[in-house]
């Protein structure tokens, strides 16, 4: 039997995590969640997921940016695809989508602005995990 792909959601918004978890679980993924960047780093020591969905504004306004660089610097976790899902653009009006993929500044595989429709999110996840 093919094992379920593991997705780790890192977001401090409990309601959003719950909603996304239902959608992903019902679509056949094994989902875990962390409510902070710090908790995510702890979690990664024990379990390496197949994909990380990452918010930006958590403990600080830039927690997610720091975390994705940290993940990509670590040999154990650098291959994990990161999907950045955030509303940071509302606060800092910059073109983060264009910066996504820059190894130094924003080493994420996909950047999506919140809010996002469930089907769009699933499509991007499926593509990343194909």
């Amino acid at each position: 039997m093919k094992s379920m792909k593991k997705i780790l959601i890192v977001d401090d918004d409990v309601d959003f995590v719950e909603a996304t978890k239902i959608v992903l679980e019902e679509s056949g993924y094994d989902v875990e969640a962390c409510l902070s960047a710090e908790a995510c780093l702890e979690q990664l020591k024990a379990n390496v997921p197949d994909l990380i969905i990452l918010d930006v504004m958590m403990e600080t306004d830039h927690s997610g940016f720091d975390l994705c660089r940290e993940i990509k610097r670590n040999l154990k976790t650098k291959e994990i695809p990161i999907l950045m899902l955030t509303a940071v653009e509302q606060k800092y009006p910059m073109n983060f989508n264009r910066a996504a993929g820059d190894e130094t500044w924003l080493p994420v595989d996909v950047y999506i602005d919140k809010p996002v429709e469930a089907s769009v999110l699933l499509e991007r996840i499926n593509k990343l995990l194909r």
Binding site: D13, D15, F16, E18, A19, T20, I22, V23, E26, S27, M57, T86, A87, Q90, K91, K114, P115, V116, E117, A118, S119, L121, L122
Partner: protein
């Protein structure tokens, strides 16, 4: 200062202590409170700076060796926020190097540990005697009716002579020549107080006679002429109106005292008048002035140097453009933008995820029925919270701009407020499996604005639901015990101390801070209570055994120092109280 004065100034003086040495802090708190000061310990730099900025501290006792040293670097920052705040620096490090560094920062006193309380008390008394708050009040009071009458008072020649500091003969001569406004009744000269002040003002303008004054009066903006000693020698009515000060309290006064309510001139780089004298050029800066009620006024100040016949700069024309309304509007728009940025992240993100999944036929078919219902309830709750937050923003805007209307009527609190709000918040409470126990005591009809009170109660329940533990119970009691009292309490997990601290000391700045929905809600509830001449009391802390201990008490009391903080034993108690007015139901009594 008389002994009584010292005592009374102590009673009102707010002394803040910042030190990592718990023993010293406790000792200081105990001794200072015994001496009659209002003393408090501050641990976080952020809290300290906020309180300094909001002028909530009269004297600061700062341990420069705290938290591993280097605290003296805070002093310039503190001075920038409030340069008149007296700072007593303390340290256990007796090196000359540290003493030198600290002294360089301009502290009032440098005390070595262990502290001598007699010495500290003397320094505090000196600091308070120097402080503007404890000197002759310099805040100008809006003229009352009695003062207006005084301005129109008729003076005889003796009083006018004393007022103008001119001899009676000179005054009589000037009156006879028609140089000063006066009238002769019988054989006596009579003067009207505000007319002779006006004459004095024109005279103070020197050789420029009335022309300058007339020219100034043609300008819509507040304009003053300031001499080299920074004293105002002339001004127009718009200037007086902008600052809400009578003319006789402006002419001859230093400009910083009038416009900034400050006892010292501004530093040269930020003072346009001093800069204009120095550079001989026109200067424009943004200044924060204060009106009679102590409210900030954001003004563009333009200083234009005036040359005399020899080309020397003898005075500067200061033009004040009050941009407070524009500034406030921008500030409010920024607040609204920040709010929507946050909400699109949180609330709309959740709603979009849930609803889009349910609306997608393929996806929805894979989701279990109970989970579908859960997603709908979650979306409903998010939208309800968003609605409440938008309403709170609108109310806060109305409050800040004095546009909030309070339409009071006789209200049955239980039927019109308590039960409808509990019904509306039911999905939110159900989502967190929180139950609510309602106790309706001896409740009399209350005279209040039913809509505003519903907003206040909703905000109290929302805040409680946000911080209460899943599966916990909220207790809500309502009764009339002389006043009308509504108490909502619950046991929560991780109530952020800082957020409630901000609300508890009443220093919350709605537009400057990144306010959370719970803070905003409680701020609105408090303002609604205040509009009804009441108040909102917020208590939060730890439950130790069967005791409810506030955060401050917990930290300051030695008996709790060995206890570990357990995150899920925290409590919140919100008490809204408004005065009860004896009224009767039109329909014949309480329901």
């Amino acid at each position: 200062m008389r002994p009584g004065d010292a005592r009374s100034s102590r009673k009102h003086a707010h002394v803040a202590i910042m030190d990592s040495d718990r023993e010293t802090v406790e000792q200081l708190l105990k001794e200072l409170r015994k001496l009659g000061y209002k003393a408090e310990a501050i641990e976080q730099t952020k809290t300290l700076l906020r309180k300094v900025k909001n002028d909530l501290i009269d004297v600061l006792i700062l341990a420069v060796d705290a938290w591993g040293g280097g605290r003296f670097e805070l002093i310039p920052l503190i001075k920038r926020l409030n340069r008149s705040l007296p700072i007593i620096a303390t340290s256990g490090d007796d090196s000359l190097e540290t003493a030198g560094k600290v002294r360089e920062q301009g502290v009032l006193f440098y005390a070595m540990k262990p502290l001598d309380m007699r010495e500290i008390d003397i320094v505090l008394k000196n600091a308070l005697a120097r402080g503007p708050k404890y000197q002759r009040p310099i805040t100008f009071v809006k003229p009352t009716r009695a003062e207006n009458d005084r301005e129109n008072e008729i003076l005889d020649i003796n009083e006018a002579s004393r007022t103008l500091k001119l001899s009676k003969n000179t005054l009589a001569r000037l009156a006879k020549q028609g140089e000063i406004p006066a009238c002769r009744i019988g054989n006596r000269w009579c003067f009207i107080r505000n007319q002779i002040y006006e004459w004095l003002r024109i005279r103070a303008a020197g050789n420029q006679c009335n022309y300058n004054t007339l020219i100034l009066e043609t300008m819509d903006e507040g304009v003053a002429v300031v001499d080299r000693r920074l004293k105002i020698i002339s001004c127009n009515s718009a200037y007086l109106k902008a600052l809400d000060i009578p003319r006789d309290r402006v002419i001859g006064e230093p400009c910083y005292r009038v416009s900034h309510r400050s006892v010292a001139p501004c530093d040269e780089p930020i003072c346009p008048v001093r800069k204009a004298f120095k550079t001989r050029q026109a200067v424009k800066v943004l200044h924060v002035n204060y009106d009679n009620e102590g409210k900030e006024r954001y003004c563009d100040v333009v200083a234009l140097p005036i040359k005399d016949a020899h080309g020397d700069i003898t005075s500067v024309l200061e033009i004040i453009r009050d941009n407070t309304e524009i500034y406030n509007l921008n500030r409010h728009l920024n607040g609204v933008m920040r709010f929507f940025a946050r909400e699109s992240k949180a609330t709309l993100g959740t709603v979009m995820m849930n609803i889009s999944a349910l609306a997608d036929e393929n996806l929805s078919a894979t989701i279990d029925k109970s989970k579908r219902s859960e997603m709908l309830v979650s979306s409903l709750c998010s939208l309800k919270l968003m609605h409440d937050m938008i309403r709170n923003y609108i109310v806060s805007y109305q409050v800040e701009n004095g546009r909030l209307q309070c339409n009071k009527s006789i209200v049955h609190i239980a039927d019109n407020i308590i039960y409808p709000v509990i019904f509306e918040t039911a999905p939110l409470l159900r989502k967190k499996a929180i139950s609510i126990d309602t106790f309706i005591g001896n409740l009399k009809p209350t005279y209040c604005d039913v809509d505003l009170m519903k907003v206040a109660f909703t905000d109290m329940i929302n805040s409680m639901a946000k911080y209460a533990m899943n599966g916990s119970k909220i207790r809500c009691s309502v009764e009339t015990d002389g006043d009308f009292v509504m108490v909502v309490s619950g046991v929560g997990a991780g109530v952020p101390h800082e957020k409630f601290q901000n609300l508890s000391d009443g220093s919350l700045d709605v537009e400057h801070q990144e306010m959370s929905d719970a803070e905003m809600g409680l701020y609105i509830a408090r303002r609604i209570a205040e509009i009804h001449d009441g108040g909102l009391n917020i208590e939060t802390g730890y439950i130790v055994g069967d005791q409810h201990v506030s955060y401050d008490e917990f930290r300051a009391t030695r008996q709790y120092s060995h206890l570990e903080v357990v995150s899920n034993t925290e409590f919140i108690r919100l008490q809204l109280r408004i005065p009860h007015i004896d009224v009767h139901w039109d329909d014949g009594g309480d329901k």
